[in-house]
Amino acid sequence: MTLITLANVFKTYRHGSLEVPALVDFSLVIDSGEFTVLAGPSGSGKTTVLNLVGGLDRPTSGTVTVDNLDVGGAPAGILADYRLRRVGFIFQSYNLIPVLTAAENAEFTLMLQKVPRPERRRRVVALFHELGIAGLEERRPSDLSGGQQQRVAIARALAAFPGVVLADEPTANLDSHTAEELLDLMRDLNTRRGVTFLFSSHDDRVIGRARRVVRLEDGRLASDSAAHR
């Protein structure tokens, strides 16, 4: 079942009088439950695709549809609710809130959703256990390793049971061993929970573990391993 559709998307950034094309006539369809990596060098448009799918940015032209919602054209209030309930984000530099504990960070979206505190804690404890970071609930991000912080970030992305998880270079700041572990973990979650993963990477070892690889070059679709479908 189709979950994400980008159709003839153009995205141009303005730097003063200079116009920089980030995506040029880009189209992509992703089904529910896929585990897709956007590959390509820096500046190829990977992050722009994730931002558009996540409702963080709007296309200059073309349409972005996620689960029948016109993400490119929806009003800001609808987009905030979409990000809150239907998308989970994992960032390259974890982006945990430093004044909150690991569990509180993971609970953050649930707090925004006004989920009662006991239910929040129950879900987060279960996720921590599943992600191999049980016992670290009360630690602050500064007391966690990079790998542990990214696991907390994954817990935060999954806690609200989103339909799709978007991860921008989730392993870029991790050593290769931790990166592989984390990738295995995400694949496992994808398999067991059926969560759709769309992430970006320019690391070949990471790309090699993806089920589907979409390559971008200069904002254009260079190749798609699922093109035969």
Partner: protein, 410 residues
């Protein structure tokens, strides 16, 4: 974890900056509270001294007397004094006569204000008469004893025990004179009063002017100054059946004092506003810095699904917590400072002349505060509100962040 916990912990990210801002707000609250209480204490003391030596907390006059001080505008108190005395909250009722007159000694003469009083009642409340020795006070209502202002005594080259003649206009239009003897000397510190005051028994004054039981003023002393709001309506009801008289508060009877206090407090308020303005600018600066430092985090929060309105509320909540913490600390410091000012006070004896006059009342050089708890709470809440108000611009700025731009921010 709640928004409250997030806001509170965020406040303490930069501990030193928050502490400095919190201290600045708290100190401003302390200063405003303590100096307001000090002003209230000084004014209360001045009002108390003023009303006891002057027109009372409340007074009854014949219509027009206050404006013209025309001695013909007197009235017969009848049962009024007795009825007023029965109103709860009334401590003393003092009937008085005021006559412009001429005082002559063997060596000089002066224009004076002859005041006819009830000696015992007057001595019980008047701070200057209280200071007189037992043998320095008027003995009866119709005696020839006189209590004289110190400067008048000097001007007339008199001494205690010496005689003087007082001449005033009788109701029949002729001039009448009375021979009096100086029994006591008062010094109020107010040059005008000390140079013109001559106090005698009320009946002696009435005899001189042919007033037969009439008075010019019925001064009413209350148990507590703020009882006037309760007593005044009862008094107005009593005087309601007598259209020729009217009840007034000390503010109308002693406009000089009321205006001097009003002017002085307006000056204080101006200083309070400046202090609070400076503090508000500091709070805006702190909160704005705090917001600008967290652009990336706010971008993440927006990306996670928070609405801009919710983000604005988080910034305002931080300001509210800062304001409440500062209000608690400031009120504690303000209470301690006020307690010191009530208990010990500030002694200005070395800095001001001994008898400094303010609004027609002698100023006590030892300044003491009085508690005004309601106002203290109000100013603490006002400053808290001001802190939240100061956060509006930073909050609006936070709400305008776009997640993508903000997350590029390092």
């Amino acid at each position: 974890m709640s928004a409250l916990a997030y806001a509170w912990r965020s406040l303490w990210r930069n501990r030193r900056r928050t502490l400095i801002t919190l201290t600045a707000i708290a100190l401003s609250i302390m200063i405003v509270q303590a100096f307001h209480n000090l002003a209230i204490g000084i004014y209360a003391r001045m009002i108390d001294d003023g009303v006891r030596a002057g027109s009372g907390h409340l007074a009854v006059y014949r219509n027009g007397y206050l404006e013209s001080r025309e001695e013909g505008l007197s009235f017969l108190p009848g049962d009024l004094a007795k009825q007023v005395r029965a109103i709860p909250g009334v401590s003393r009722v003092l009937p008085r006569i005021y006559l412009p007159a001429l005082a002559q000694s063997s060596s000089d003469s002066r224009g004076i204000l002859l005041v006819g009083v009830e000696p015992d009642a007057e001595r019980a409340v008047n701070p200057f008469l209280k200071k007189l020795p037992e043998d320095g006070m008027l003995r009866d209502l119709d005696g020839r004893d006189a209590v004289i202002g110190k400067r008048l005594l000097t001007d007339l080259k008199l001494a205690v025990g010496r005689k003087l003649v007082v001449t005033a206009q009788h109701r029949d239009g002729t001039l009448h004179s009375e021979l009096l003897r100086v029994r006591g000397v008062v010094e109020t510190g107010i040059a005008e009063v000390d140079g013109s005051l001559l106090m005698v028994g009320r009946q002696r004054a009435a005899l001189l002017a042919g007033m037969s039981g009439e008075i010019h003023e019925l001064a009413i002393i209350l148990d507590r100054a703020d009882d006037d709001r309760r007593v005044f309506p009862a008094l107005a009801e009593l005087t309601g059946s007598r259209p020729e008289v009217a009840a007034v508060s000390w503010k109308e009877a002693m406009p000089n004092l009321a205006n001097a206090i009003k002017l002085d407090y307006a000056g204080q308020k101006f200083i309070f506003v400046i202090i609070l303005l400076i503090v508000t600018i500091g709070v805006v600066n702190t909160l704005l810095m705090s917001v600008m430092e967290r652009l990336r985090e706010f971008g993440v929060i927006l990306a996670l699904g928070s609405s801009p309105a919710r983000l604005r509320r988080l910034v305002l909540l931080e300001a509210l917590l800062l304001g409440l913490a500062a209000a608690a600390l400031g009120s504690m410091l303000g209470s301690l400072f006020t307690w010191y000012l009530v208990d010990t006070g500030i002694d200005l004896k070395n800095f001001v002349p001994e008898n400094m006059e303010f609004g027609g009342v002698v100023f006590d050089p030892v300044l003491r505060a009085a508690w005004d708890l309601v106002w203290m709470v109000r100013i603490a809440l006002f400053v808290t509100g001001l802190t939240v108000l100061a956060a509006f611009y930073p909050a609006v700025k936070a709400g305008r962040i776009t997640p993508v731009e903000a997350m590029r921010h390092s």
